[in-house]
Subunit: 503 residues, 2 copies
Amino acid sequence: MEQRIRNKKFFDKIVTAEQAAALIKNGMTVGLSGFTRSGDAKVVPIALAERKKSTNQPLKINVFTGASIGDEVDGILAEADMIHKRLPFQAEKKLRTKINSGDVLFIDQHLSHTAEQIRAGQLPAIDVAIIEAVAITEEGGIVPTTSVGNSSTFAKNAKEIIIELNMAQPLGLEGIHDIYELENRGQRMPIPLTQIDQRIGKTYIEVDPQKVKAIVITEKQDNTSSIASPDAETEQMAGHLIDFFRNEVNHGRLPANLMPLQSGIGSVANAVFHGFLQSEFSDLKVFSEVLQDSVFDLIDAGKISYASACSITLSPKRAAEVVSSIEKYRDKLILRPQEITNHPELIRRLGLICINTALEFDIYGNVNSTHVMGTNMMNGIGGSGDFARNSLLGVFVSKSTAKHGQISSIVPMVSHVDHTEHDVDIVVTEQGLADLRGLAPRERAKVIIENCAHPMYKDALREYFHEACKRGGQTPHMLEQALSWHVRYQQSGSMLAAQEVLI
Amino acid sequence: MEQRIRNKKFFDKIVTAEQAAALIKNGMTVGLSGFTRSGDAKVVPIALAERKKSTNQPLKINVFTGASIGDEVDGILAEADMIHKRLPFQAEKKLRTKINSGDVLFIDQHLSHTAEQIRAGQLPAIDVAIIEAVAITEEGGIVPTTSVGNSSTFAKNAKEIIIELNMAQPLGLEGIHDIYELENRGQRMPIPLTQIDQRIGKTYIEVDPQKVKAIVITEKQDNTSSIASPDAETEQMAGHLIDFFRNEVNHGRLPANLMPLQSGIGSVANAVFHGFLQSEFSDLKVFSEVLQDSVFDLIDAGKISYASACSITLSPKRAAEVVSSIEKYRDKLILRPQEITNHPELIRRLGLICINTALEFDIYGNVNSTHVMGTNMMNGIGGSGDFARNSLLGVFVSKSTAKHGQISSIVPMVSHVDHTEHDVDIVVTEQGLADLRGLAPRERAKVIIENCAHPMYKDALREYFHEACKRGGQTPHMLEQALSWHVRYQQSGSMLAAQEVLI
């Protein structure tokens, strides 16, 4: 324990999860550590939900996090009807249901924006921050665990802090973090980071020790899940993208080791990274939000030389391996606050290649990342906007169809826009890749339809575009039909016209 | 002339506009100086159009600029069917017609992106740059005139350069410019600018003298136009916004002199700035793209203490006054490349308040800045995206109706998205102001409808939202009706339902 709590004054603050949860009152705003299900505060939120269940007293709070937290925590809070407002991202089924029914108010934010808005007083003030730690330093600093998220901003701006000291997280994580907190806008200096392996901050979160009101000892592990293995289609998408990179290198537009890579979470991004394993590319660098299994596979294979991110989210099997050999990765990894990993200043400066997943995109290259049929929230925009709009290459990937072909991921007009055509350079499906750089909308439509759409939907897309062009416009549309594919799906269960419906 | 051309070697390069234009061949890509109709290359493009008319030989070129150029130049090039591709912005009637008919391929870009894409080889290479200058320095550097635009990037990357030395532009402009050119991504340092009055570059554009193939002497003036004076509605909008700023100051969220202001071009933004004249605010700072009449009025009134921008675009009357007393403004002005004025790194760091005009916005706060009825290009996104998404406060202004009330600027779903709800903090009409910070979509809808919509359209918007909520969702919509207001306008000339049509 002395290894974990290095300042004796803090021993007096050790309490149970229930006692710590008592600090949280109805109506408060709570900031939780956690990003992509890792490094999240776990036992205190659960104790809080138990209190609500057992006492049945009014208890509704605003829950701010880094990004998604473990299913167990978001799930239990949603189930207990304890969340008034939730931001900036989530990925839990029960919570999603409550969001879409209007019972939880969800603010879907760019992940780099939350810290700025808290600092500027544009969001409710944080009453209590709950931060998972591997250790508390002599100075009272918090050493985070497998993610940094918004923890430093929460801790700095909260009135009170609860620390979940997690003995199951290896002390070997210490030294991996680089915590750099920005000054207010108008008073800040340039962020000095110019290389992805550069350290610009401290290895712990500086806090006012007075604000630490409770320390809870826990051994609860990150509740991650396994990522779908590459399938034939995701492998095809990876192949298209790697061919494209190869061609860019051949034309001198990218160096032989490419530029630093960012990729969203999910099976497609994972497949693309797996694709690098068999490729000629090496000395790759990663500047991303989250490091998944594939990044560690590429480090092991000597393909990735350095990775900077905000969290490590591994499958249970891979997590055990990495945790037990964390020393091996220490000199190849940095974990930073999400405000830094996702900062426009750095994304633009470093020249990132950004690969993110689309739910659907339209013939002009506008992308919907979040809203099923324009209405129901899936997870949130996450960092995809921070990255795409400031990237050297903004890539969006999606299978060309969903629901066994009943949905075309390429539509005349997206039902919700998260990324405008201005910020989308490349779209990829298993059918092929469309390079949209330097193309006007009418040119984009042709290459998207011909290269990316599924053969089942190509003729209908061609016809829509052809008819729309007769009416003219920079971005030709027939507004009365623009969303008709979605309407047809809602009414008939398929975007295919009646005569084409799959048997 | 020795004052204007300070290196004798350059005297030999003086030719007529026709001779200079002969350097431009069919199929070339030409980069023109010019931003918001000021400082644009004028006589050589016009001579080129004359050549096409008189010889009738094939001549089609790509035309890249800073932003809009004078109507005369874009108009004559469009009329002569000489433009293959045009980027990143325009505001000319004949050209707009050719864009919407599909005869000119227009790439509507964030104004900070063009330079990056040229540098990265993602756009056709610039064959010839034509840059307006007040002087050529001893080193062969080009001193720009009333705008900087993309001129330094064009000059650096072009194979050949033509200079239009404009004797009608006052030599007193020299020293106002601050030219800072960025290195390639991945190799660049932080941009050292932390204060809006800071100089970080040179007062001229450095060029390889070998590349300067022709110098044309001209006295042709900027072809600007007068801006509509504030009317009752724009004055109301200015009033709502100034009340909002006052309230922010009272709550400690903004300092007494606010934060640096950016405003788009146009009558509403102009009215807001005029509103400051009568207000208690002083020591205001401007960090914007373009400085219009109102900024100089505010400098004269002692309200604005410093202004940094990319161009000065004044009404003919105001231009004459400013030009003749340029010395008075020299220590209060800097003109920078548009890549700097619009750079995400700086916009985010400096904490700008950004005020831009919307064509329409929807009940959830998504904004359409560019496409009339989702299809026809008006001018382009310009810098509104660069600014809004990195701002401290992203404000969009629009009158609540257009076409004498037949169009509601607040609609169930915008017909085109340029700015997503993630980047829109405040919307303002003459009816009122909606503060969307910290609100989930369902909350946003209520405040937008109640505060901003015109009374004629309020009930219909309330009903749409109410019915959509019955179906559920994070962003409730009825897709089959979402664009029905636009369709109704296209079919009947009014967004009002039949029984409500105005008499």
